[in-house]
Amino acid sequence: MTAAALATAAYGGVLAVAFTRDGSVAAELAPGAALGTLFLLFALARGGVLLGFALWLAGASYVAGIVAAGHAVDATAPVVALLLLLCGELAAWSLDERPWILAGDLLEWRRGAALGGLALAGLVVSALILALSAVPAGHGLFWTALGAAAAVGVAGTAAALAGR
């Protein structure tokens, strides 16, 4: 129940950021946000694939909000990404818990620690991406080599994971 409440709060946080980017498009964003909230509540009650749709709608609302706001890079994007990830993970956690299964506090702490680690790593990566986007294109051989290595790394990681 606590995890479900926290997931809902995180979802509300994403929507709040989306709505405050540009107040003029709030009316256009409202239907999608409402539908996403409904999807989230239904997913929290019954599980299923609606959780993914809810997250997608919240993310889309945020992107629409920042696009409407203008060309400046939104510095809150890593926080929004973190909130979206927390929303998904906490909702899944609340669905995984079964009241009839006796589980000690240690198991809860372990999962909480794993989730915290993932969230922190996600925040760092997201912030890094935002920071690296500020590097101007064609700024030297080092950045070009780094970009190529990153591209190769992503492709290699994807290939390795697909093989598992």
Binding site: G47, G48, V49, L51, G52, L55, W56, G59, Y62, V63, I66, V67, V73, D74, A77, P78, V80, A81, L82, L84, L85, G88, E89, A92, W93, D96, R98, W100, I101, L102, A103, G104, L106, L107, R110, R111, A114, L115, L118, A119, A121, G122, L123, V125, S126, A127, I129, L130, S133, T157, A160, L161, R164
Partner: protein, 419 residues
Amino acid sequence: MTRFTSPRVSAYAALAASGLVAGLALGRVEPVALAAPFALALVAAAMAGREPHISARLSLERERAIEGDEVTATIELSTDAARLELLPVLPEELATEDGAAQAVHLRPKEERTIELTLRCERWGALSVGPLLVRARDPLAFRSWEAAVGEPQLLRVYPREETLRSLVAPLETQVFAGNQVSRVRGEGIEFADLRAWQPGDRIRRVNWRASALRGELWVNEQHPERNTDVVLFLDTFAEVRAEGRSTHDRAVRAAATLAHVYLQRKDRVALVGFGGYLSWILPQSGAKQLYAIADTLLTSDIVHSFAIRGVDVLPPRTLPPKALVLALTPLLDDRTAAALLDLRARGYDLIVVEVSPVEIVTPEPGSRLELPHRLWRLSREALRWRYEQVGVPVVLWRDDEPLAAPLEEVNAFRHLARPA
């Protein structure tokens, strides 16, 4: 083991892909930043995808118990999974205090023993296990499920009641036992006096009676003999509601009667008369008690449309002069007909009616009151049929001890001598 992947893995993949495509299409970095944590979560999910090692063994403290007993089940476990959920498959006749499902975490190479206290709520030959296990990675992206361990058999015998007296058969058999026979012969119980005849032993002479009459008179005694008892269990139908069942009570009564009659050195037979026919030939001794108890454990109500009479029973199951104690809820006409057939063949028959009436009593003022009353009238009519042929039918209500109907039979036999 069967592997399952959380549905949010595919959702995260779609979100990550959407973010990257949106970043390219819009020429902005924010969608890519949104996608990054989800892509990272996918990497974490893939890296935690190794199948865990699980070793579990289920054992029971003992193989036999009595209704109401508590039996300890032990689970010996070792695993390297981040979270392991255990669920022993338990029959509904067994209950646990806090539920049987548990989640544990063990360090690599650590072994743990988990004890479960099982309370035996109902008799039966019960199968405990196997263990259903579900292992998960730390963030539950992947899970593995399997059934491990062999099922263990637990025999829960019916709870017995205390009986101070039993129904004595009208006729005894030829072997020595604890039942005082109606016939006269060598024994302990005084029966009568008669005039001396050539061949009578001198120690049987009653000197006081001889002195009074002026000729020799001798004592006669009732010999102590054993009896044959057939427990006739009706398994055609039952009434079961809210944890109460006519069949359960009948089985408990049969177990009690078998125990007490066998203690008296009588021979006891068992007939399960219903959709599934079962029988045990009359024998005496502790071995027979276990045979009857084991047969009772597997007795169940099997619905059948086959027309059955007592002809289908092996003749040795129903020895001559046997006392037939029928335990029946009187719900099926085939049982009623078979019992009347037994009476017509001269068996000493007693019908203990395991009353289903209290179990299905309708609410006062409901529409079911009239059919319920008609049903009770039809049952009374059936009882009257039995009484017309000299068969005592005693009602055993849900809240009464078994001794009550047996005392009623004894009273009936004192007042009315069966034909």
